[in-house]
């Protein structure tokens, strides 16, 4: 199934060249979780990183559906 991954600001460098405006479409097998999808990218999943599914706070083991958007960014403070 096809899903989208959006990497914000400093994470954007890890996107493949075909990405547009920070978003890439990738093909993943059924049963892929949020965690599996984001693990395909070389970004440090540490205490500064935030990952959301369709803009919502979810468990990292949530299985993805066709067309979902997984977004990741890192923050050390508010804005």
């Amino acid at each position: 199934m096809m899903i989208h991954v959006k990497l914000i600001a400093n994470y954007r460098d890890q996107l493949p060249p075909e990405a547009k405006n920070g978003v890439v479409e990738i093909d993943v097998p059924d049963g892929t979780s949020v965690y599996d999808a984001i693990s395909r990218f070389d970004i440090p999943l540490d205490d500064t990183s935030v990952i959301v599914l369709n803009g919502l706070t979810v468990d990292m083991n949530t299985p993805l559906k066709e067309g979902d958007m997984v977004t990741a960014f890192s923050a050390i403070a508010g804005g």
């Binding site: 914000i8 803009g55 919502l56 706070t57 960014f73 050390i76 403070a77 804005g79």
Partner: protein, 607 residues
């Protein structure tokens, strides 16, 4: 005494009398410094019912015990006064260099009272204090004023001043320091203007001795190293400044768009940190001794929006940008420069224009009244309005009163997105419920700086909370309000403090911060004691509000009754009634939000 000078400079602008006062060490300890000391004096010295623009109002500049110490980001000061915008309390924070220079005069705090009959500025060179004529700089913009006053005092001095907006009593007027840094919110610049005080110029070499200088140096180095580890990994705050945030809030559907009619903006890519870096960034500029360095020096090199200055920051992008539906980055950047030059808060300026744009589009205010069409997205009209607001010309005079009074005047109060008459910052609380409770209860009206729970709801600092639920938000808001009160009283920047001097394990507990306070002052605080002191300060501020008659903790119509139409938070309103009773209970306040006698007693406050 260490850390604090325990000295206040008092300037009566009516009589031009200058006096020095000592601070009672017990008051110093109990109220921490900065914002805490300031409310203690404000509460005791003025009638909270007094008109904010009258001579009875008191204008306080306050540094904290950590200001001008080796503590990273120990470069802040607070401006505390009664707000003409909200009719409640104003406490606005700024960094840059002026606050450090202010502390080096040998005073922790400046109190300005009364009103001068002619424009003046106050030059403080340690204990030599002069009230000088400002006739020659009255009417001048912030950068020129700053240059002239430095030239006639000392290049080593630093300047905080108002621009034309403050002189003209525009209710969104800021006090600018070091040209581009702002104590922005709640109309503090109008209070300064009402006193005919154009500027404060500070210099000196009187750092207070530290209780344990060696220990303080070590802890400061350790803290800077912790910041360095994050910077090395690639901190967005360093690379993009706060301008990376629109992508985050747009993803969550809480990016204020077209006066909060929407929560997502279709042109975010055109006005975010990446676009800014590619097009206009010259370099990042830190406040004094800050290892994070989130400020941006930018330049629009040519064209109709040519200019140079600092910004835009996130809060400017979400107000003058998305708030007004503006996607032209050069025009938005220019609008930011103009606000800095005239001395205006970009949030209230932007969101007031946004409200006017909505009223224009709905036919509530005609083109004749405005003097031009004012649809969302019209960046040239927006720029024209900023100048009219600073000078209160034509329709600009209506805008200069803020969106609450504007919407009321034209018969549509439901358009104003304000709390305590102050415009919302860049997080739509329908998709960030804790922010809703914060805006409603904040002592200074809608503000993220009152206790930015977006740290957890949006940014996951130190842990990620679900922004759409109300569970636990009463506790979260109280914890962040008290923590921010502590940070503002200590003299640090919130961008540093929550992650680096509070411990995550105990849910933002001020372990390292209280240690820094002790190494500086020798006051021997426990973390419990500094948190209790912060709560004392917060409650005294609350008592000021109540005495000023600003008692209602609520949110505007749009937030309570108009569900978000788009994005991940689609269908949501703020469920304030689910959070407010629990919040009052946790705070020890009655069902009307008034601190109980027991609570005041517990905190050692007058009851």
């Amino acid at each position: 005494m260490y850390g604090w000078h325990l000295k206040i400079l008092r300037v009566n602008l009516t009589t031009k009398k200058v006096t020095q006062e000592d601070v009672d060490p017990k008051i110093a300890r109990d109220y921490l410094g900065g914002r805490g000391w300031a409310i203690h004096y404000l509460y005791n010295e003025m009638d909270p019912m007094a008109d904010a623009l009258s001579p009875e109002n008191v204008l306080i500049f306050a540094t904290g015990p950590l200001t001008a110490t080796p503590a990273p980001t120990g470069n802040r000061y607070m401006v505390v006064t009664k707000s003409p915008l909200t009719g409640a309390l104003a406490h606005s924070n700024s960094g840059g260099e002026f606050p450090t220079w202010m502390k080096r005069t040998g005073f922790d705090m400046f109190i300005f009272e009364g009103k001068s009959s002619e424009p003046v500025y106050v030059y403080i060179n340690e204990y030599q204090v002069e009230v000088r004529s400002a006739a020659h700089v009255w009417g001048k913009e912030v950068p020129e004023t700053t240059d002239i006053l430095k030239a006639e005092t000392s290049n080593e001095a630093r300047v905080a001043c108002i621009g034309p907006a403050g002189e003209n009593l525009t209710l969104m007027a800021a006090i600018m320091n070091d040209k581009n840094r702002a104590a922005a919110r709640s109309g503090v610049g109008a209070v300064m203007g009402s006193k005919k005080l154009k500027a404060v110029v500070a210099m000196g070499n009187k750092n207070p001795p530290l209780h344990n200088p060696e220990g303080m140096r070590e802890l400061s180095v350790t803290t800077s190293k912790d910041v360095g580890v994050d910077i090395k990994k690639g901190s967005n705050l360093r690379i993009y400044g706060t301008a990376y945030v629109p992508q985050v809030t747009n993803t969550l559907g809480i990016l204020p768009t077209r006066n909060f009619l929407q929560g997502t903006f279709e042109h975010t890519d055109k006005i975010d940190g990446i676009a800014l870096k590619e097009q206009f960034l010259i370099k990042h500029v830190p406040c004094y001794r800050c290892p994070i360095s989130c400020g941006r020096l930018t330049e629009v090199p040519d064209g109709p929006y040519k200019g140079k200055g600092e910004g835009p920051e996130y809060e400017t992008i979400s107000s003058l940008g998305t708030g007004c539906g503006v996607s032209n980055l050069a025009a938005l950047t220019k609008a930011n420069y103009l606000c800095n030059e005239y001395g205006m808060d970009t949030i209230t300026t932007g969101m007031t224009i946004a409200a006017a744009m909505e009223m224009y589009e709905k036919g509530y205010i005609s083109e004749e009244i405005i003097g031009m069409p004012l649809p969302f997205g019209d960046h040239d009209a927006m720029i024209a309005m900023i100048k009219k607001m600073a000078y209160r010309e034509g329709f600009g005079n209506d805008l200069a009163q803020g969106s609450y009074r504007l919407a009321e005047k034209y018969g549509h109060p439901e358009i104003a997105v304000t709390a305590r008459k102050q415009e919302f910052p860049g997080y739509d609380p329908r998709g960030s419920q804790g922010m809703g409770l914060l805006y409603a209860t904040s002592n200074k009206g809608a503000s993220h700086m009152e206790g930015d729970v977006a740290y957890e709801e949006v940014f996951g600092v130190p842990v990620k909370e679900n922004p759409l639920t109300t569970d636990g938000k009463a506790e979260l808001v109280k914890r962040f309000e008290d923590s921010f009160t502590l940070i503002d009283s200590a003299g640090l920047c919130v961008f540093l403090a929550i992650r680096y001097v509070f411990s995550k394990e105990r849910m933002v507990w001020p372990e390292r911060l209280s240690e820094m306070m002790n190494l500086t002052t020798g006051a021997g605080y426990t973390p419990e004691e500094v948190m209790l002191a912060a709560e004392r300060v917060y409650n005294l501020e609350r008592m000021f509000l109540i005495k000023a008659g600003s008692t209602e903790d609520t949110l505007p119509h749009r937030m309570l009754h108009e569900p978000l139409p788009d994005g991940p938070a689609k269908g949501m309103v703020v469920q304030l009634d689910k959070m407010l009773p629990e919040f009052y209970k946790l705070r020890g306040w009655d069902e009307k939000g008034v601190p109980t006698k027991e609570k005041l007693q517990e905190l050692g406050l007058p009851h």
